[in-house]
Amino acid sequence: MPVSSSAGCTPDSIRVGVATAEPIVAEGLALLLDADPFLSCESATGDLVSALGLLENGKVEALVLDETLLDMASLGALTDGLLRGSSARVVVLTSEQSPVHGVLASALGARGRRVDKSTGASAVIEALYELFGSSPGDAKRSSS
């Protein structure tokens, strides 16, 4: 999948990765996130291991992750990854049929948000804002 880089982001932009098995969502959502001045989409992938690697190596500060990439085993890897990354945040895209909803909320804790796929990209952006404070710039300054 193509990796986009933000042309209009500010120095305080949050670096985001997108992980989903649907290439159109990965590429299109990256495009939409990049259009926000406070977000910079650094990577899009269809592979969970690569996505967790993005968090671990600090290439991204937040991951937008499609729940269809997750199973019970990989949830553990996700929570471990979150624990290791001091400022990592995750937005999980979910649908009503998800079998992992119950454990997802507790696994993510305060570092994660669930966004239903029936909502639009604006809900993803809003969730990212919430995870990093009232404004992304404030959140980054306060965490540094």
Partner: protein, 258 residues
């Protein structure tokens, strides 16, 4: 192209719309539900409507409603599920093309271009499968032995097996020759074959054609020698592990005559 995207998963609709717009298409809107789509199509006359299906095939009713509405706009069903039976059902309900959501924007655009080209060439009613969807159908055929074919494709298969030419089939069914060629191409995809003779052999093995010796001879007589030779090889009994002649054909299925 002017398109409308309708999907309950707004994230998918918006992502698709963003990419199509970036690539020069005119996205007239992202909507949900058949009524909204019908209203939108009536107002703005798009070149195609893209309708999302979830994993359980919800929205099939909307596909049917849209097809019956007489709007005359090509419908592309975008499916989460790769179930070949579901995809074939959606085409039967009136979708003009099926696409899997696990495929990329390039494949979606290729499908849209094909639809526009076939529509301009008068191939009304021809069904299109994205590469991923046709591969799913072939995989399904490998498991069940019987690919899902539409009623019209089955009719074309039957006429091909009787040795009818493309133009004769087209005239009999009241459609253009381009439409028949499209049906045949779709059947090639589904059966994973590259020639009509191979296709007939596979269809017969799958039980979609009854064994009739003489018409088959007529068909064989018009095909190149190499294809005949290939058919003979594919239809010949294959040695089993024990060294005996055996065939994977289900019991009761006849051998292709040549």
């Amino acid at each position: 192209m002017k398109v409308v995207v309708a999907d309950d998963q707004l994230i998918f609709a918006e992502a698709a719309a963003a990419l199509l717009a970036r690539n020069g298409h005119d996205v007239l809107g992202c909507v949900a539900g058949a009524e909204q789509v019908i209203a939108a199509v009536a107002d703005i006359s798009p070149d195609a409507v893209l309708v999302g299906l979830d994993a359980d095939g919800h929205r099939c009713a909307e596909i049917s409603e849209l097809a019956r509405s007489g709007l005359g706009v090509p419908l592309v069903a975008m499916s989460e599920s790769a179930d070949a039976g579901l995809l074939a059902r959606v085409l039967d309900l009136g979708a003009d093309a099926v696409f899997l959501k696990t495929e990329g924007i390039e494949e979606l655009e290729r499908l849209l271009l094909e639809l526009r080209t076939s529509s301009a060439g008068g191939a009304v009613g021809a069904k299109r499968w994205s590469r991923g969807a046709s591969a799913a159908a072939r995989r399904s055929a490998g498991v069940s032995g019987v690919p899902s074919v539409t009623a019209r494709e089955r009719e074309v298969l039957s006429r091909l097996s009787r040795g009818e030419s493309t133009s004769r089939i087209a005239a009999s069914l009241g459609v253009g020759t381009a439409t028949i060629r499209t049906h045949v191409q779709n059947l090639f995809y589904k059966f994973g074959t590259h020639s009509r003779l191979e296709l007939l052999a596979q269809a017969r093995r799958a039980g979609l054609l009854s064994v009739v010796a003489d018409p088959e001879r007529q068909a064989v007589g018009r095909l190149p020698t190499e294809e005949v030779a290939n058919l003979m090889r594919s239809a010949a009994p294959q040695p089993t592990r024990e060294g005996q002649a055996g065939e994977s054909r289900p019991p009761g299925q006849g051998r292709v005559s040549a």
